[in-house]
């Protein structure tokens, strides 16, 4: 009975309700129209600047287009894709990106998490430390990459200066010999950005949980492992997905940190063995105008990222802890 009262389609009440229903459908149509009007800037942009280029790009990847002459464009089928798989540099750069992501993402998340846990308790100077740790995240890459090159400069760099305090006369050429370490450290410099997100998550953990654990005699470490960590897994999950997608795409950082000052005016000047996948793509497209090949590279990458993301999402049911009442996620 209660249900039928509220339902407009009850036969007994139907005649009386009809005008209201008509009015409602007019209203809902109006609402739909105004919805589409409001989202039209995005929708138009999405169709013209995303969907259309995606289709165009895919067609380009099946052609030998070089950006110059449309008359000589030929359909070459999956040749660009086959060519990619046969190139050593393709595999080298893919392996480099994978290596970078495998190291940078887990360590970065761990650092952010530890910083957040350390800074979560009330203490003097907490806001100051938070602010300082977050600071590197706002620096523009063109500036911070310069800062990094200076820091590791063989002569003028602070790292070598520090080392020379203990081992006088030593000159380490980081850019040549410890290239990866330089890039990892650069990626972890703004670990405070992840910290901020974890801190927000930590604020959401009810204090009673810890009080109860304390009464049960759990020490700090046990509380961290049994309460904090499980409750933070949704945040870790999100960070992991965005982190992997971001890290695999690393491109500007290696170009700018490795690139010599003179070379930056023109083409990318780093040895192929240091290419990340996106650096390889960048060089093929913007230095050699191999558009068809470049788009093919980007689509291969897209598929890889998609598969990885799906794996992480599928795996989440084994390790991500979802609370029954999800009031607010981070």
């Amino acid at each position: 009975m209660e249900q039928t009262l509220g339902s407009p389609s009850t036969s007994k009440l139907a005649p009386a309700k009809r005008p209201g229903r008509a009015r409602r459908s007019v209203r809902s149509r109006r609402e739909a129209i105004s919805f589409y009007l409001f989202i039209s800037p995005w929708l138009l942009g999405f169709i013209l600047l995303t969907v259309f280029p995606l289709v165009l790009g895919f067609l380009t990847s099946l052609s030998n287009y070089d950006g110059l002459n449309l008359a000589t464009v030929q359909f070459v089928g999956p040749k660009n894709y086959a060519r990619a798989l046969s190139k050593d540099l393709f595999w080298t750069s893919l392996a480099n990106s994978a290596r970078y992501a495998i190291i940078v993402v887990p360590v970065g998340i761990t650092l952010s998490f530890l910083l957040a846990v350390m800074l979560n308790r009330p203490m003097r100077g907490r806001d100051f430390f938070r602010l300082i740790y977050y600071l590197p995240a706002i620096l523009p890459v063109a500036g911070s990459s310069r800062v990094w090159r200076l820091l590791f400069d063989p002569n003028a760099g602070a790292v070598n200066a520090l080392i020379r305090l203990f081992r006088p006369g030593i000159v380490i050429n980081w850019r040549l010999n410890y290239w990866w370490e330089m890039l990892y450290l650069y990626a972890w410099w703004p670990a405070g950005a992840g910290m901020v997100i974890f801190l927000a998550g930590l604020q959401g953990i009810p204090g009673e949980l810890y009080q109860a654990a304390e009464i049960d005699g759990a020490n700090r470490f046990q509380q961290l492992i049994k309460i904090t960590l499980p409750l933070m897994t949704p945040v870790v999950f999100f960070q992991l997905i965005m982190g992997i997608i971001g890290a695999l795409q690393v491109m500007v950082e290696p170009i700018l940190i490795y690139g010599t000052a003179s070379g930056l005016s023109g083409r990318v000047d780093m040895p192929g063995r240091m290419y990340t996948y996106m650096v390889y793509t960048f060089v093929q497209v913007f230095d050699f105008q191999r558009y068809g090949y470049g788009v093919a590279l980007s689509w291969i990458f897209f598929v890889i990222v998609l598969i990885l993301t799906l794996i992480v999402i599928k795996s989440s049911k084994y390790w991500v802890f979802y609370r029954v009442s999800q009031e607010g996620e981070a």
Partner: protein
Amino acid sequence: MSQLSQVRPATYRGKAAAGSGVRFVRRALLYVAFLLITFLVVLPLVWVVITSLKTQDEYLHPAFRIMPEVLQWRNYSEALFEHSFLFFRKTANTLLIALPTMIMTVISSSLTGFGFARHRAPLRNALFILVLAMMMVPAMVTIIPQFILYSKLGLTNTYWPWYLQAVAGAPFNIFLFRQFFSTIPEELEEAAEIDGSSRFRIYWQIFMPNALPAIAVVSIFHFQWAWGDWFTPRIYLNEEKSTLAILLTRGFANPKGYARDAVTLAAVVVYMLPLIIMFMFAQKLILEGIVTTGIKG
């Protein structure tokens, strides 16, 4: 008892009597750790400021001296006012990109965000998932064909690629506005509807004035991006129209072609300063924005 123990929350006081020595040591160690991390985080920035005050000779031959003999403030005046005012010309170019696109992206992203937050319509949820999914698509997949398109349209070496993209809004900003608009109470909207206001008026006169924090966050994030972006100017612009990011990655050279590294570093410091100042003033907003979207700046 030291000062440190006074900040301890009241609940711990009972235990403190038992192991106050251990606690004090633990707390002191924690502070040492924080200061050490602070040193590591700040060192690169301090070092760039110190080095920007050296002569080119000191830069090339440090002779294990950390501080410059005489602080070379003239590096800053050279970076800003010599080299035919390159720094200011590139700043003007950068602002020509950053400011109009900032306004455009705020307007289009807020319109779209309002659409998603405050309307029911067929396909609404599917479209919103599409917005979010676009954040996961690798940028290169769309950038290369966009580049081909803009080249064919003769729009390279103009700022149109930025302007057109800004009119379309950005997924991240749309998401932020949608989240914000969803929190505004329905009564406000209903009252205006009874008065017969149009949807657009409700958006413009009720929602936007109430969305100043979201507008500020989106503006700041967008400005940070446009100011720092190296990739887009690198592929679209030639020397004359290029931006600060491009100038600084190349650096200054004297007429003979020798690099003026310390001067370039002075310019780098000036280049990063607006973003640092902006952060200091708007840190609360920025950090809230990061938390809302879960994406680091």
